[in-house]
Amino acid sequence: MLTYIARRLAGSIPIILGITMISFAIIHLVPGKPTSAESALNPKVSLQVRERIEKLYGLDKPIHVQYLEWTRRLLKLDFGRSFSDGRPVIEKITERLPVTVGINVLSMFFIFIVAIPLGVKSARSSGSWFDTSATFFVFLFFAAPTFWVALLLMQLFCITLGWLPISGITSLDFEYFTFSQKVIDIVRHLALPVFVSCITGLAAVSRYMRTSMREALQQPYIYTARAKGLPERTVLYKHAFRNAILPIITILGLSIPGLIGGSVIFESIFALPGIGRLFYEAVMMRDYPLIMAEVVLGALLTMAGNLIADIGYAYVDPRIRYAKKVS
């Protein structure tokens, strides 16, 4: 197990290097210097901004020196200062992080408590009325563009029915609320964003769980369990489930980049102060230090997530935990 972890950790070193290289390359994508980027949205980068970028990236130096200096600062989590307000980038990101992480953890939680039982039920009653309608909804959920669903739900719940607030994370008079009012206020603000960010994951996880469970139910050890006289419930939830849930751990790791990317969309629709919206604003304002920092951090986070998922998988799967020494 320890050798496995060590090997996985060592394997991630080239990945980290690659991540920094690609991120660095993006800023140098433009022919000429990044500072000469003229775009449809921001036709003129001011002289002052140009000077600041040149200083930040040491653009007068050879490219490999620039890269090394940039990565050295990166190790110290020094991403420079934001162009828009001059505050350190890392500070701006950390203050926005809790909202994004909170929403994603919440939606992850809901995805799993709904999708896993759904998948299990579909698998055991494969071909039934329940399974068919579940499959139907999975198709719908997969195909629905999240931002469109968000708009429709806003129309319905916030405007037509007027049940929920349309944007933000707290009401204007939040400070004057009692504790329970505050909780209710946040729940009301987060209900739609969390639901919208669940949709795709819900469809995906329930589908994976169904496939995984169906596969497990066809395994020989299921015959053994039944032949032992175990009740169907035990066969299902002890013998099949434990095997079927293993691959889902990997799915959890793989879904991280999608969640981070998706946060850009629904945070800007619902005007939530998370890193997704921060990124969107940075892109609109060509705030390069902030953009670079978020790209690098997003990728590193994804990598860390995959690493943890892999190690978690190895831990719960005895075949890897107690692997025979393979020569």
Partner: protein, 261 residues
Amino acid sequence: MLKISNLHVHFDLDGTIVKALCGVTLGVNLKETLVVAGESGSGKTVTALAVTRLLPAAARVTSGEIYFNGKNLLLLEEDALRKVRGKEIAYIFQEPGSFLNPVYMVGDQIMESFLLHQGLPRVEAFAETLRLLELVKIKDSRRVFFNYPHQLSGGMNQRVGIAMSLACRPKLLIADEPTTALDVTTETQILDLLCELKSSFGFSLLFITHNLSIARRIADRICVMYKGQVVEEADAERIFCSPQHFHTKELIHAYQTIGTQ
């Protein structure tokens, strides 16, 4: 004590009906070893699984009766049937590795039967499991208890499988090609073990194989299956001395050819 009569089983494979068994009739007497022999696809395994209705969902018993100690197993309620499975009729399967659950320790999987059918407290169930592991000639039973199937050899896993099936002292043991996946030395050990356990535990044995040399070693009676039917059933001696059906002759011929090589 087990009497299967005129059993028909169909498989529904995406609309096409495949007849797996067409009127199988056979019986196992008390403390007897009946070997069911036949080539693969002849319906041996389907017959075995049908006894306690373990067939996959695509299979359907269309007609026939299976009597075990006076009860018609095909008409038994699911709950009552579960008390027969494992407790009165137990199974040993072919691939010992894949018939054990890879994510649970083998000891736990054996212990499950004690907890389920005999309602023993965990401590006693643990002790019983260790005793059982020793009965199937596993020396360091304590270590093996805490091992996962992939950590054990095929022979060891099959011993675990045997231990698991004997947990509740079943009256009938159904062994479906239990040695096919093993090498010849281990095969001999497992067969010897089975015969020894049979005399000490006193169960009846329904042994499925395609290999007549095994049949000759252990059988009291042999029944030969061919294309979903029993084509010949007789004492072991009679089958080898004067086979009647052409398929029996073929099987004997095949076995003798291998024997002389």
